[in-house]
């Protein structure tokens, strides 16, 4: 068929429209919502109040994580009378969106128009780094409850930014040592998406793995967020002759990778290891049987056998009808840490809270097990988790402890 002319159609316009679609991702993240009536802020007569900005993704790729975080946060407050250290808590939720463009704008709004006393949350590492100058300028505390980039709490960290979650390199390094002992001489293939977090995981894994005598059989960096078909990479893994694979994927990519790893016949012959996000939360159910036997490293599993976790997991499942994910646990712990800090601090300023956090010592009632701040990042134990079927449901059973680490330079 050889069609003739289309008056009025210009290629430039079509491409412009395509670009507009690409820009879609930047659209959301404008809304924020206040819960509970603000009561006379810091007033002397009545009850003291603290206003906390909960910044979590409510739209885009990470919206599922944001939901878990909100639930963990809400659950802690509901079980502790809605108070932090004698302060009545008002939570202002803001949508972080997917990118620093939306996230930093949301943080600015929280600090400037909502005038919150502290910001909690943040999933995206670039957003966390972008928010650091904002909170420093406002002299408010930013309590990071997920974003894992090293520099957030690294050597050049802001004194106002503290993290209750993890550093990417921690998760990868402990698994690197473990795999070096187990598959070191056979060769391990390293694969993670081509963006900042993927690079951190790959580099930290390879460093610890090689240092412990392991041999890297090959590595790959699939484009981030646009790869849905992993066949080219799976063929490369097969051709490399590696005896195990270390990977970092999360969300929809984790589902696609684990399912295709099984469909292309690698699951039976080459054991798959990864950072815990590979099989965490909602993605595990979506992966289904393909995930059986996948082993991951993380600082939490809802299967952990300790009293704090048992009561947390039971309360969470009871309220939300789903087991808690690491994201929910991190938000719960953020609330717990903020409660302790406000108890110890003179006021709600970033400086006072930072000083209080420094003196917190061991957090002994966390569902992840005891941990403490080392610098401004958790020093905590990591677990080797294996996906097993338990009562017809897939769970991350705890197989081993991989050791305790603090921030890795």
């Amino acid at each position: 068929m050889t069609p003739a002319s289309f008056p009025g159609i210009s290629r430039r316009r079509l491409l412009g429209a395509a670009a507009a679609v690409g820009g879609l991702a930047a659209l959301p993240a404008c809304g924020s919502s206040v819960e509970e009536e603000p009561s006379g802020k810091g007033g002397k007569g009545g009850k003291r109040a603290v206003k906390v900005g909960l910044m979590i993704p409510q739209s885009g790729t990470y919206a599922g994580l944001g939901k878990d975080m909100k639930q963990g946060w809400d659950l802690w407050l509901a079980r502790h009378g809605g108070e932090f250290g004698g302060y009545k808590v008002t939570t202002v939720t803001a949508d972080e969106g997917e990118t620093p463009q939306t996230g930093v704008a949301a943080a600015r709004k929280l600090l400037q128009s909502e005038e919150v006393d502290a910001v909690v949350g943040v999933v995206n590492s670039a957003t966390a780094l972008g928010c650091a100058p904002l909170v420093a300028e406002a002299q408010k505390l930013l309590l990071v409850a997920n974003a894992g980039a090293g520099p957030i709490t690294g050597a050049k960290r802001s004194p106002y930014v503290w993290r209750v979650s993890f550093q990417n390199a921690q998760i990868a390094a402990v698994l690197g040592e473990h795999l070096a002992a187990k598959h070191g001489k056979d060769g391990v293939y390293v694969i993670a998406p081509d963006y900042a977090a993927g690079a951190e995981f790959s580099a930290a894994f390879a460093k610890a793995f090689k240092k412990a005598g392991g041999k890297v059989a090959g590595s790959a960096k699939p484009p981030f967020a646009t790869t849905t078909d992993y066949q080219p990479y799976l063929s490369k893994i097969r051709a490399s002759g590696a005896k195990a694979v270390f990977c970092f994927f999360a969300g929809a990519e984790a589902i696609a990778f684990v399912k295709q790893y099984e469909q292309f016949g690698l699951a039976d012959s080459v054991p798959l290891y990864g950072a815990g996000f590979l099989t965490e939360g909602a993605v595990l159910a979506a992966q289904g049987k393909a995930a059986l036997g996948v082993r991951t490293s993380l600082h939490y599993s809802d299967q952990l056998d300790n009293p704090a976790n048992k009561s947390f997991a039971a309360a969470y499942s009871g309220k939300y009808d789903t087991p808690p994910s690491v994201y929910a646990m991190q938000a719960w712990d953020a609330a717990n840490v903020l409660d302790r800090a406000l108890k110890a601090a003179d006021d709600t300023s970033g400086d006072a809270l930072g000083k209080a956090l420094k003196g917190l010592g061991t957090i002994d009632d966390s569902p992840r097990g005891s941990w403490s701040f080392s610098g401004q990042n958790p020093k905590q134990t990591f677990y080797l988790r294996t996906v097993e079927s338990k009562g017809g449901k897939l769970v991350n059973a705890v197989s081993d402890e991989l050791g305790t680490t603090a921030q890795i330079a």
């Binding site: 696609a256 690698l266 939360g281």
Partner: protein, 296 residues
């Protein structure tokens, strides 16, 4: 060397699976644009609707009944959606593409948000029907049966659409409307019905592609934009309003996406749009597009 060849031959097979799926999505977009001069950015939303129908009806443990039922339901929703979109865009036909883009983009946002409200933010997976959910050895490596079946179904649909558009009276009318709809109207043919039908059929294909793609892509927020951009690339590469262009463009982009990643891993993010840019430089009207497009 043998391993290298094996790995890349599997890549070629895989490129066909992706390519045929892209064809099913893109052919509707191409015809609607070519014949009605309507830029339908809601095309991705139709695919997404199909994907969620698949996730809701089929779920993780697929049965043939469920899978075929999902295909039927998606086809019905696609038809209805197409008729609705056709009615919505009709008043904007004489206006600029920006107006159409805004309207259909708005429809996309609304549909995507409704799907999130109904099914939540978490990515959902769709199983392949029994018998197609395993793997078979292809060139020495395991390959999912479903993707092979997808190649078959895609090829069948491609032939059907091709014969319909190129070899039937109805097809002749469609092609004539693409070429010059005013002339078709001037010789006394009421082509409004043709337009609605093409819009509906194209939308139906996009929605069924959502179900067919389910076992590979699953259903998740944001999938609509990913697919729409791929489909737009296919349409631009292949040329507007041409079934042949959509087929060649889709198969080409499938190969570029699959093979490009294994041959040029470091350039993977640029391969897709690099090939688009190359086509635009060498043949601005697309591989099978008429010259008028470049001029306009």
């Amino acid at each position: 060397m043998g391993d290298w060849l094996d790995a890349n031959l599997v890549g070629v097979v895989n490129g066909f699976a992706i390519g045929f799926l892209l064809f099913i999505v893109a052919v509707g977009l191409s015809l609607v644009f070519g014949m009605m001069d309507v830029l339908n950015l809601a095309h991705g939303a139709l695919f997404l609707t199909g994907a969620y129908v698949g996730a809701a009806v089929v779920g993780g443990d697929a049965s043939w009944g469920g899978f075929l039922g999902a295909l039927g339901l998606a086809a019905g929703l696609g038809l209805a959606g197409g008729v609705l979109l056709s009615a919505l865009t009709e008043p904007l036909r004489r206006r600029s593409h920006l107006d159409q883009a805004l309207l259909t983009l708005g429809v996309t946002l609304v549909v995507a948000e409704l799907l999130v409200i109904a099914y939540g933010d978490d990515p959902l997976s769709v199983g392949a029907p029994p018998g197609l959910d395993g793997s078979v050895p292809v060139l020495g490596a395991a390959y999912p049966v479903y993707r092979l079946a997808l190649i078959g179904v895609g090829a069948l649909l491609a032939v059907a659409v091709f014969v319909l558009v190129e070899r039937t009276d109805m097809g002749a009318l469609i092609r004539a409307t693409v070429a010059d709809r005013d002339m078709v109207a001037a010789i006394g043919v009421d082509n409004r019905l043709v337009r609605v039908r093409v819009f509906a059929a194209g939308s139906m294909l996009a929605a069924t592609a959502g179900v067919l793609g389910g076992p590979i892509y699953g259903a998740r927020p944001g999938l609509d934009a990913t697919i729409l951009i791929l489909a737009l690339v296919v349409v631009v590469v292949g040329g507007l309003g041409s079934v042949r262009g959509a087929l060649v463009g889709a198969l080409l982009i499938g190969q570029v996406d699959s093979l490009g990643r294994s041959l040029l891993p470091d350039a993977a993010p640029f391969v897709l749009f690099g090939s688009l840019a190359l086509v635009l430089v060498l043949r601005p009207q697309g591989l099978f597009g008429g010259r008028g497009v470049a001029r306009a």
